[in-house]
Every structure is written in C-alpha cells, then in structure tokens.
Symmetry: C2
Subunit: 241 residues, 2 copies
C-alpha cells in the first residue's frame, strides 16, 4: 500500500485545542509551542495506513479531523476492526511509551488530518513538563475505563442493542438531516467491519440489520442508513450506564 504523505497548511496546536476537545489542555504555553514546532501535520486518504501492526513506534499521533480504524491482525492472518478513532483522540501512545512495536494498524476510514509528534520531541517534553506524563496517565486511565465499559456492554447487551448503539454514535458524529426530515448516516465501514466492531459473525450482522429494518427503526441501503423516526430509534437505544 503506497503511503502518500503531504505536509498541509499547518494548523496551530492552539487552534486545534480550542476546536476539538483534545487532551493536551494541561500543557503550558511554552510546551505547546514545542509541540507546535515539532509536530508534522499529515493528510491521509481512505485506505492508507497511519502505521502498521509490527512497525516501530516512533511517536504519537493526534487525529485532527476524519476517522481512523484500529485493526488487529491475528496469527491466522485475519484482520479485525477493533475500534474507531475520532478527532481529538491520540493514538500510538501506548506502544510508544512501552517502547514496543505497534500492536495494531491504524487505517484511514475517512479523509483525515493527523498530527505526528516524533520521539525526540515527546521525550524532551516528558522531561521538561512533568504534567505531560500525568496527562498521558489520565488518557490511559480513560482508555482503561472505556475498555472495561465496552467489555461489560459486550456481555450484557445483545447484538441488536450493540448495533443500534454504534449506529447512534456514528449518527452523532456524521449524521445529517435531509430536507424532508429524514436522518442519514453514511457508514464509513463495511458490514464485515461492522460485525467485527460489535463482535459477531457477519451472518449475524445481516440478520440483525434485517430485524432492525423489520421493526421500522432504520433502513439500510448499501452504506447509507436512513432513520425516518429518530424518536422511535432512540427509544430502542440501551439506557446509558
């Protein structure tokens, strides 16, 4: 896969911080300036990979816009989509901090702008600004609770519920409303990947979609999902917490 990097118009970290809810709010102005100078803003197109499983981790990546999917390749060569990464989130930091090769690949799912901060800059920042370690720490703690939550959901919710939940998340991020009041989601991933994401077999995914259509909650046409009655849809969502 040919990776096409391109230095774009460099958005300042300051702008990025204010627009998205990134997790670098703790940093002092001067530290931010260091990052600002050290970072490289990269533009990717769908299908490209930010990094590959097994690659050496040379730094951290903060996604500014677009959508990324984390995939893991198992020993049999099956690739599974394990998580979606939205703007504001930082990836690659775990492998980097552990000084281990990346344990999964980051694949671009929608046109994305990603800021890369290289090893030396991060190292320097970690030395000069102790707050950064704490910030990474709280990031990791958040990931941990998140993972636990997702685990709980996967045992207590059934396939349909999990699918509806993911659809809702995607709707919140990418949903649009047509002039006739219908709500649209353009799915950024294949059925296969969707199945991986909720942890079912692809056949089950198909049937679950059928059930959802049968109940009039949404209509699926290729990768576009149409929700005519958003209230009805929401009433079938799992209750938070």
């Amino acid at each position: 896969m040919s990776v096409m990097l391109q230095k774009t118009h460099q958005t300042s970290c300051f702008d990025c911080l204010s627009s998205s809810s990134s997790e670098w709010g703790c940093l002092t102005k001067s530290s931010l300036c260091v990052i600002d100078r050290a970072k490289v803003s990269l533009t990717y197109s769908p299908g490209e990979n930010v990094f590959n499983q097994g690659d050496e981790a040379n730094g951290i990546y903060c996604i500014q816009s677009g959508l990324i999917g984390l995939r893991r390749l198992d020993q049999d060569g099956n690739s599974t989509l394990i998580r979606l990464i939205h703007p504001g989130e930082t990836i690659g930091y775990r492998s980097f901090l552990k000084n281990m090769p990346h344990c999964n690949s980051a694949e671009i799912l929608m046109p994305s702008v990603v800021c890369f901060v290289g090893r030396s800059a991060v190292r320097k920042l970690l030395e000069t600004s102790p707050a950064l370690a704490l910030e990474f720490l709280s990031h990791s703690l958040r990931d941990l609770t998140q993972t636990e939550k997702r685990y709980m959901e996967s045992v207590t919710w059934k396939a349909k519920t999990r699918l509806l939940h993911i659809l809702f998340v995607l709707y919140e991020k990418f949903g649009t409303e047509t002039q006739c009041g219908e709500h649209l989601i353009e799915l950024p991933i294949s059925r296969q990947d969707l199945a991986d994401l909720i942890g079912t077999a692809p056949e089950t995914m198909s049937r679950t979609i059928q059930r959802i259509e049968g109940e009039g909650l949404a209509r699926f046409d290729g990768r576009t999902v149409r929700i005519s009655n958003l209230n009805l849809f929401c009433r079938h969502l799992p209750h938070p917490q």
Copy 2:
C-alpha cells in the same frame, strides 16, 4: 463489617521491592525513603475490606502478601468478583488519580499485609519525582493490555478452558505438593465467585467442574482441588498468547 487495622512490624520498602516484583523499581533512593516514612503497613484478615465501592480514594495500596479480590456492586445489589490481586500489585491508584470515589471494593481473601500511602505523600512524590508519574503510567498501560487480553480470552475461550486457566494461575501462586506427589490447590474463593471470575452462571460452574472431574484432570472437594496428573492437566491448558 468491622475493620481491624493494626500496625505491624514495618517492612522497609527496600526489602519489599527486592522480594516481590513490585513496580516501584524506578524510584530513586530518596523517593523510596519518602514512601518508606509515609507508608503504613496494615494487616487484614479474610472478609475485611481494604476499601469499599463509593469510598473516597485517599491514597494507594500496595499489597505485600496475601490475596485480595476486587468486587463490584451493580445497581441491583449483586456483587461480582471481577479480579484477583496478588502480592506486588498496587490497587486504588486509578480512583485516586482520577480523584473519584472507588469504583469497586477490595476484599481480603487471604490474610494479607497491605501498605498504604496516603494522599499527601503521593502528591508530594508526584511533584518531586516525575518518574513516578511515568511509573503509574506504565502500570496503567499494563492494566490496559491485561484487560484487553482478558476480554479476548473471554470471547475465544470456553468456560472449561477459562476455569483450567484460572486453576493453573492459582496453582502457580498457592499450589502445594503432597508427599505422595499429588498437587493441591486450596481455593481462596467460593464457587459463586469462581463463576463470576470466569464470567458464567454458577450452574455452569458446577457442570464444568463435573466435566473436568470426569476427564480426570482434577478432583474437587469443597475448596480443595487435587491434581494427580499435572502433565495431563497442563496439556489441557490453553496455549499462551
């Protein structure tokens, strides 16, 4: 539940570090001394709780010897054993660092010695020794990979495999060998809790034990497990990784 605290003979952190594989190896001598002076060594008996879900997190706990179980109480009042904590591990740090009440209870399962380091000491250490934040960080990262691994296991392994796996872990920690060459495990938890731990219904736990006995892998008598043929037993263990 009456909590009985008791200041024991204070083992030095230095000794503790060398004997168990604790995660505080990064600290400088002087930092360790600070902890050494600030920590309180506490002795608990089975049934007592180190902290309760909902309690304010006032510091961190490093388990020196014994065994602790983390329990979570859901909204319906059911308590589920979610994890075992062995000597050398540190608990309570997540809630403490997030400045949130403890999200689960820590129940003593075997007579334990636990070192408590209070809020102010940790705060001071975090300020003076930036390496500590990194150490917490790597702890949290380890917890994260661990959680992900356990999640994978819970979907890919079936009940019998998971039970055998846990038995093996317990054997490694607490297993003994009789003079007639039989291997013994004294289970520190009830069937109920064992079922929670591997994520099944108690009925399934019973039946799984029956299957295991039927295959001659082990014999269960109350809380003691007898393994006569350890090789056979190990051949049925899931392959690592």
